[in-house]
């Protein structure tokens, strides 16, 4: 029994949250919906851990849906990279679900809370589906599932601006998905297959054709839109700033990560590194990444809304990941994959801290956070540690990713790139310190009510993420070895 069950884990990983979502609608009770979302998030986390274990010991897993053989049927494929990404998505999901109920009940009207959990489960299932599927068209389907539900999640924000933010994201997100599917269509036209492994085999014959290069361009732009790759990021700051706090935390920590995963898959599994010789997309990514880390960090300095500040910081962080990809070396990809995980921990912690702040003072404007260091010591301490990690202070995960990124740049002999990465870290010090100074060194205005720290049900998940920042910052064996293994598998070409 258990053997058969464990053989079906890849399918269960996607099917369970998909099935759970309608139950939330049927039950309609906030508490029940929350409970379902919580349980299924944790079950998925368990499955992720088991899958990662299986992959690490037995190598990649291939699962044929309905036992139809690939490439005719849909194949689910779990390798180190996808198992690692699923671990990120499910652990962030599980932790935010513990945190969620109080924050959600405050920010979302009572009659729509069940919708939040439904949409959360759909997004969750979609993100996992993207990660696990071995089929380029099936990936598009999951991309749409996760995107459509995340538009709804964002529009649940309490301010009216949330609606325009969601609409803008919807338009650009749909353009992105369309570009992606056009690219996939072109590839199908040339190779006659949609299975990723099959594509990888057949593409080299036609790699130099204009159609394939155009396909690559379409796919890059499409994913770039989902990724928030500069200058395709315009939807992101508003979406993050106006979405309900928990949604921001979840999406910021997972959605862009999964988009980076798609980019890695397309470039390194489907096309292979040779494609960069035909089309210098690596240089193009490098330039965009560098512009992103400098300008977006610079823009972040001038924000007065802490959520928007972190949103711009996210665009900058995506820049780091893209720079890692653009190196096309094992170290560079290791840095990117590490940063996927590390940045999820960092931004998850920071956005949850802001959610806690909002829960108490109904604002995340930096000016309104004056004096919170004393009034909400545990929340703000979490914010400080998360911020240190964002900057890349040693003993936090941020330092680990920066270390590998700079090492990768030095290996390539890219001195100016290494210098710019460090320079943008300094910009991060500035924008993050702005918040610290206000929270710790400005007195709380007389007119403001005194507030206390948030309840334990919020503090514990917050500090679990903060703890992860320190744990994986001091003990990086698991993350580094997994990321390295995944990077080597990618660069070697074989999926």
């Amino acid at each position: 029994m258990s053997a058969t069950l464990s053989a079906h884990l890849p399918a269960l990983q996607v099917v369970l949250p998909l099935i759970a979502a309608p139950f939330c609608v049927i039950l309609r009770k906030s508490a029940a919906a929350w409970f379902i979302a919580l349980v299924f998030s944790w079950v998925s986390l368990g499955i992720s851990i088991m899958l990662l274990e299986q992959v690490l010991t037995h190598g990649p897993i291939s699962y044929l849906l309905g036992s139809w053989p690939a490439p005719w049927g849909i194949e689910y494929k779990v390798d180190k990279l996808s198992a690692f990404i699923m671990l990120i998505v499910t652990s962030i999901g599980s932790i935010t679900m513990i945190f969620a109920p109080k924050s959600v009940n405050l920010e979302i009207p009572k009659d729509r809370v069940y919708l939040f959990y439904t949409m959360y489960l759909l997004t969750f299932a979609g993100l996992l589906g993207i990660t696990i599927t071995g089929d380029a068209f099936n990936l598009f389907v999951f991309l749409e599932i996760s995107s459509l539900s995340s538009y709804v999640l964002i529009s649940l924000g309490s301010e009216r601006n949330a609606l325009t933010a969601a609409l803008r994201y919807l338009i650009l997100g749909t353009v992105g998905a369309t570009f992606y599917i056009i690219g996939v269509g072109l590839m199908y036209q040339m190779t006659g297959t949609l299975n990723i492994a099959d594509l990888a085999e057949r593409l080299p014959e036609v790699a130099e054709t204009r159609t394939i290069l155009v396909a690559l361009g379409f796919v890059t732009v499409g994913i770039g839109l989902k990724l928030g790759l500069f200058p395709l990021h315009v939807w992101l700051p508003n979406a993050y700033a106006y979405a309900p706090s928990v949604v921001t935390a979840f999406l910021a920590a997972t959605a862009t990560k999964v988009a980076v995963y798609m980019l890695l898959r397309v470039y390194f599994t489907i096309f292979g590194t040779d494609i960069f010789a035909a089309l210098p997309i690596d240089e193009f990514l490098l330039v965009l990444g560098l512009i992103a880390i400098v300008t977006m960090s610079g823009v972040a300095i001038y924000q007065n809304n802490a959520k928007r500040l972190l949103a711009y910081s996210s665009v900058a962080q995506v820049g780091y990941m893209v720079i890692g990809i653009s190196m096309v070396t094992a170290t560079g990809l290791t840095a990117t994959i590490l940063h996927l995980f590390n940045h999820a921990m960092i931004k998850g912690a920071l956005f949850l801290a802001l959610a806690a702040v909002f829960y108490r003072i109904k604002s995340v404007k930096i000016d309104d956070m004056a004096g919170l260091g004393k009034e909400m010591p545990y929340t703000m301490a979490a914010f400080v540690v998360g911020g240190f990690s964002l900057v890349g202070v040693p003993l936090t995960v941020g330092f680990i990713s920066k270390w590998y990124l700079i090492l990768g740049a030095l290996e390539k002999g890219w001195w100016p790139v290494a210098a710019l990465i460090l320079f943008s870290s300094l910009l991060a010090v500035i924008y993050f310190w702005k918040v610290i100074e206000v929270a710790y060194f400005k007195p709380r205005p007389e007119s403001a009510d005194t507030v206390s720290d948030v309840p334990l049900s919020m503090l514990i998940p917050l500090w679990v993420l903060v703890g992860a920042n320190i744990f994986f910052g001091t003990n990086s064996n698991l993350t580094v070895s997994t990321a390295m293994g995944a990077a080597k598998a990618l660069i070697g070409g074989a999926p």
Binding site: L410, E411, A419, S425, T474
Partner: protein, 488 residues
């Protein structure tokens, strides 16, 4: 206690103490007792390592591996031993002084003050015992971060502005330049361990060495080479005990300590001496010595004058190390100790003048020596040590630096030392002269009727003044440690 455990406890004790300070924050006397007891225990533990290091052992303990091949490791070697002894020993005296100062001036947030002070000491000892460059970097950064709340203690806009300068320069240089240098070193050599003779020989060559040296020297902002020295005068907005222990001893000495460490154990001074492109450091340090002295001459604010004097004295250490002669490196090591006891005394005196007489400017100090004989007496002794007059510690270190410069016939360095001695005399002697021999001119001042500062402060500054003299007569331990550093 095994030496390995002693290393860990030396760092853990102040951390545990900091928690004790938080817990006892409501009862001031108990809290101060915790600080004092912690300081004493820490000093005893650090001291217990001395004879082990002197006997030639290098006890080492690895905490964890945080990147493949890179560990957080603490190893005690002679240079770190000396710095550890100075920092932990002076913390005891400084704590006594702090009690007098913080209470005498009714400062707020005292629990926060003592808490971060203890953490600063833990990271200072972490710097001194660091077994590889990455461990050192980690402790170095923590030291920067945990002294920020001490610099901005008053919370006034002026303090916040200075705090930004402080953090901006120290973090900017360390992340922007030092970290790059460290990753470069790792990339080139595959190790970051401190090794006698250095680790770079055979891995980096030519002009790249000079660039790497530049990244290290300007990445160590705490050594305050010009033009990255501005954080130090800015840090003077802090309460005086902070200026005394942290910005005359722990933080700035962590800077020049790292400089010596990098030159001796990363580059290897013999390796550097073979290079043709690295002697610029002597000139930069020499320039800093002279320029800072000239600026000090023009400062009327006593603490700012002392700050510029510190910048100048720090560059003595950098220059001495950069001369690359064994004797001058011994001089650099000795100067870390000599300047520490001297400068802390000077700051103590400045703080006690402020507490007793509410005076901050040099021009207000006419005749104050008669009202505060102990304070100004200690000030005079320490000032003589800064100038390098025997029988004070400053003479000893200057002697070695000069000998080192002579041994390699570095006439620029010799000229700088002679000139700066004159300048030191120029900015210290008038203060002493006016304090003792001029008539007081503050008859209208409501604070004119003051005596000595509170007793704890007087005890502290007398103790460090005596130490300045004792270090001249009993220089066996620091000399032995310095000899072991150069391995000759």
């Amino acid at each position: 206690m095994s030496p390995e455990n002693a290393i860990l406890w030396a760092i853990a004790v102040p951390l545990i103490g900091s928690i004790g300070i938080l817990l006892t924050g409501k009862i001031a006397n108990l809290r101060e007792t915790v600080t004092l007891v912690t300081a004493v225990i820490m000093f005893l533990i650090v001291g217990s390592l001395t004879h082990i290091v002197l006997s030639g052992e290098r006890p080492s303990v690895t905490l964890f591996e945080f990147l493949p091949g890179l560990t957080v490791t603490f190893t005690v070697e002679p240079l770190g031993m000396l710095f550890g002894l100075i920092a932990s020993g002076l913390w005891i005296i400084n704590s006594i002084y702090s009690i007098g100062y913080m209470r005498g001036n009714n400062e707020g947030n005292q629990t926060r003050f003592y808490f971060f002070f203890a953490i600063a000491l833990a990271s200072a000892v972490g710097v001194s015992f660091a077994g590889n460059m990455l461990t050192l970097f980690i402790c170095y950064e923590i030291l920067t971060l945990c002294t920020f709340p001490l610099v901005t203690h008053s919370g006034k806009p002026e303090a916040m502005k200075s705090g930004r300068t402080y953090l901006g320069i120290l973090l900017g240089t360390s992340i922007g330049l030092q970290l790059l240098a460290i990753i470069w070193t790792w990339h080139a050599t595959g190790t970051l361990d401190f090794k006698a003779g250095g680790i770079l020989d055979g891995h980096v060559s030519g002009a790249a060495i000079s660039v790497l040296l530049f990244l290290y020297m300007y990445g160590i902002g705490k050594a305050a080479l010009m033009p990255i020295h501005r954080w130090l005068p800015a840090a003077m907005v802090a309460p005086t005990p902070v200026s005394a222990l942290l910005h005359a001893v722990a933080v700035v000495k962590a800077g020049v300590f790292t400089v010596v460490k990098v030159i001796v154990y990363i580059f290897g001074y013999e390796f550097l001496a073979e290079q043709l492109t690295t002697n610029w450091l002597v000139y930069v340090a020499g320039f800093t010595i002279l320029a800072a002295s000239i600026v000090a001459l023009r400062q009327d604010n006593l603490k700012r004058r002392l700050a510029y004097s510190t910048i100048s004295q720090l560059s003595y250490v950098v220059m001495a190390a950069a001369i690359l002669a064994p004797l001058s490196i011994m001089g650099a090591v000795l100067h870390i100790a000599a300047h520490a006891v001297g400068k802390i005394t000077l700051f103590f005196a400045a703080g006690s003048i402020y507490t007793a007489a509410h005076k901050t400017e040099v021009s207000q100090l006419n005749g104050i020596g008669r009202k505060m004989p102990w304070t100004m007496g200690a000030f005079a002794i320490a000032a003589l040590s800064m100038i390098g007059v025997p029988p004070t510690a400053g003479f000893l270190s200057k002697w070695y630096i000069l000998m080192g410069a002579l041994s390699v016939e570095h006439y620029f360095a010799i000229g700088v030392i002679v000139l700066s001695t004159l300048l030191n005399t120029g900015y210290f002697i008038p203060v002493i002269y006016n304090a003792f021999f001029k008539e007081a001119d503050d008859k209208d001042d409501p604070h004119a009727n003051h005596g000595e500062a509170p007793l704890p402060m007087v005890i502290a500054l007398t103790a460090t003044a005596i130490a300045t003299v004792l270090l001249f007569f009993f220089s066996g331990l620091p000399l032995e440690l310095a000899t072991q550093v150069v391995g000759k």
